[in-house]
């Protein structure tokens, strides 16, 4: 099957649509500057902010007075452009995010404590922030909605799931990408990790000193070439190949040799049937942190060889690091670059260093046939996507029902099991519920002798809510000062799946879905499509949520409460 891209849409600090984005790229005009909409005390930190307030975005998207997280407003703006360009209804909407509605939660936290602003509470959930986009997109048309949440690789994983769904007949036309707004929460979180620069970022420069956070959204509309041609749609580019691999090294840092990134890029090339020498341009993850750029350079050099390095640049000096949206925004940038035949400049680079990629520093006008786009996330969730000017034949698969070979549920997890499966050193940073799910996962793998499953996929409504709420409360109480990094590191939705990969050295497929009570169904569909396509044979599926008193007091305003769940399932293809 050939997967055609028939629509693209984007919004970021360098433009509110494709045309503006293209113009800024060609003019080498960065969008990084002082914060205007984000109300943080850390005004010395530059950001790649979309230059519209929430109210302006509401007017632009016609959403009126309805409460909408900024993530959803940005997503809606970009998704409309992509769908309008494609010109046909979709039956699946897949949008990666991690921030979700955190911007509303942090703004209204004190109101919540006083029993006010209850209408915003449900929008906190990542999955609800995606639902809010879809509600405004199609009238009377239903679509399956998915919210992958693998931190900064979320949007690329969305595109991968979309492609897998097309190849297995689970969807006809998919909108896939990601959306993420700036929030004080993750600005402060990244600040505790000491990886934010107080200057415009300099990816791959010897003197780089950290990243700038950005925001925005980017989506592709993908469908079979056959369908696109039948309806006379314009084909912009094709999906060449893709892969996801876990670095299985550290919760926030990439391994020195970039093993996960290497495996993801290698897997994408293999699926596309391409030699490294056929890649014309790599849009690097290139965050401009000391760690990412060194690790990514090592993995790219290992795969491509020093002499045969294609043109490489990071576009984060234009947009900032748009975290969960980055894969979507950068995939759109790659398609614009392909359409107009240029390599975007890696701005602000001036000094080479040994072992580091030497990027393209001025716009280079060359034809691009195959582009590799990287997105790497916390927990080592690494993904790579190849976008091609020519069609690539990808195999199709017939859906199968995987066999559930083991379940470890909440009642089966004893204190003894936790002691046996989780060492004190491992447990040190985990909440009790995290220890329970890790113990359940390890025990399930042991009892089925599936010690190295091909995929680890977690389903969670709220993610690691206890640590999130700890960080949020501390941030508000302290006025954004002297925050502890550990609760932030553990706050992302993908903490559980990636942590289990780290603890067991599993470099396989790794993903997390946050779609309310549909989260488990999303995770299962992911592994079913992959089993159907022969990409995996075994999978560890986890269901995780925590009971969080401080959030329950807020949820009580809408008559709900959190429910603790820790379950591990092992599935085999047959």
């Amino acid at each position: 099957m050939r997967i055609a891209i028939t629509g693209i849409g984007v919004i970021s600090a360098i433009g509110a649509n494709c045309d503006e984005t293209l113009h800024s790229l060609l003019a080498e005009k960065s969008g990084i500057g002082s914060m205007r909409c984000l109300r943080s005390v850390h005004t010395d930190l530059p950001v790649g902010e979309v230059p519209f307030s929430d109210e302006e975005l509401k007017r632009m998207t016609g959403t009126g007075d309805e409460p909408m997280p900024r993530t959803s407003l940005l997503g809606l703006k970009a998704a409309r452009e992509a769908i309008g360009m494609s010109g046909a209804p979709f039956d699946a909407f897949i949008s990666g995010t991690t921030v979700g509605g955190m911007d509303l939660t942090e703004q209204h936290w004190l109101d919540y404590q006083e029993g006010k602003a209850a209408e915003n509470i449900r929008l906190h959930e990542a999955g609800e922030s995606t639902n809010a986009i879809v509600r405004h997109l199609q009238n009377n048309q239903t679509a399956n909605v998915f919210t992958p949440s693998t931190a900064c690789s979320s949007a690329l994983n969305a595109i991968m799931l979309g492609a897998n769904m097309l190849r297995t007949g689970q969807a006809k036309r998919v909108v896939a990408g990601g959306a993420e707004s700036l929030s004080r929460f993750h600005l402060n979180g990244f600040n505790t990790l000491m990886i934010l620069s107080d200057q415009p970022c300099r990816p791959f420069d010897a003197n780089r000193n950290g990243l700038n956070l950005g925001e925005g959204a980017g989506y592709l509309v993908i469908e079979s070439e056959e369908d696109a041609l039948a309806r006379g749609a314009k084909i912009l580019a094709y999906i060449g190949g893709y892969a996801n691999s876990c670095d299985a090294y550290h919760q926030t840092a990439s391994s020195p040799e970039g093993e996960g990134a290497y495996l993801a890029m290698k897997g994408a090339l293999e699926m596309a049937g391409l030699q490294p020498s056929e890649i014309d341009y790599i849009n690097a993850h290139g965050t401009a942190t000391s760690n990412n750029d060194a690790s990514e350079s090592a993995s790219v050099t290992r795969l491509f060889g020093v002499c045969k390095m294609p043109a490489i640049s990071s576009t984060k000096a234009f947009t900032g690091h748009t975290t969960s949206a980055s894969g979507g925004i950068e995939a759109v940038i790659c398609i614009l670059a392909m359409q107009h035949g240029f390599v975007p400049a890696n701005l602000h680079w001036s000094e080479a260093a040994e072992g580091l990629i030497r990027p393209v520093t001025r716009t280079e006008h060359i034809p691009l046939r195959h582009i590799l786009c990287n997105a790497f996330g916390f927990g080592g969730n690494e993904s790579a996507l190849i976008i091609s000017a020519e069609a690539t034949e990808l195999s199709k698969g017939k859906m199968i029902k995987p066999v559930l070979v083991k379940t470890i549920n909440d009642q089966m997890i004893s204190d003894q099991m936790i002691r046996e499966e989780v060492s004190p050193a491992e447990a040190r940073r985990m909440t009790l519920q995290m220890r329970r799910i890790v113990a359940a996962a390890k025990r399930a793998m042991k009892e089925t002798a599936v010690e190295m499953p091909d995929a680890i996929v977690c389903a969670t409504q709220y993610g690691c809510m206890l640590q999130s709420m700890r960080f949020l409360q501390d941030m508000i109480d302290s006025g954004e000062q002297q925050l502890k990094p550990t609760p932030f590191i553990q706050s992302t939705h993908n903490t559980i799946a990636s942590l289990i990969a780290i603890l067991t050295g599993n470099h396989g497929y790794n993903a997390t879905y946050s779609q309310g009570r549909q989260s488990l169904a999303c995770a299962l569909l992911d592994i079913e499509t992959q089993m159907a396509l022969g990409q995996i044979k075994t999978a560890l599926v986890l269901k995780f949520d925590e009971e969080v008193e401080v959030w329950d007091r807020v949820l009580a305003l809408v008559g709900e409460k959190t429910r603790a769940v820790a379950r591990a399932y092992v599935y085999n293809k047959e």
């Binding site: 505790t192 990790l193 000491m194 550290h250 919760q251 926030t252 840092a253 004190p424 050193a425 447990a427 040190r428 940073r429 002297q482 925050l483 502890k484 990094p485 550990t486 590191i489």
Partner: protein, 85 residues
């Protein structure tokens, strides 16, 4: 100095969630990273934050922590020399 070392050990145990440990379990001169307590880069960030919160010492470059956090003793000496509270 000895008093500062004891206090620091308690603060490290709390900041890094060493639940079953007491100050007596930490060797003042043993390496904090690698062997010894086996700390990692997340702990280094926590120790930087600890020095900021408890002693008013701000480190701009996380790499500077490497020399300071060799052992509890080197950390205490650095705090003694640089504390602002």
């Amino acid at each position: 100095m000895e008093q500062l070392i004891e206090q620091l050990k308690s603060q490290i145990i709390e900041a890094l969630n060493f639940e079953d440990m007491t100050p007596a379990d930490i060797d003042t001169d043993a390496p904090l990273f690698g062997e010894g307590l086996g700390l990692d880069s997340i702990d280094a960030l926590e120790l930087i934050m600890l020095m900021d919160r408890e002693y008013g010492i701000k480190l701009a470059d996380p790499k500077a922590g490497k020399a300071i956090f060799q052992s509890v003793r080197t950390m205490a000496e650095y705090i003694q020399a640089n504390r602002t509270k």
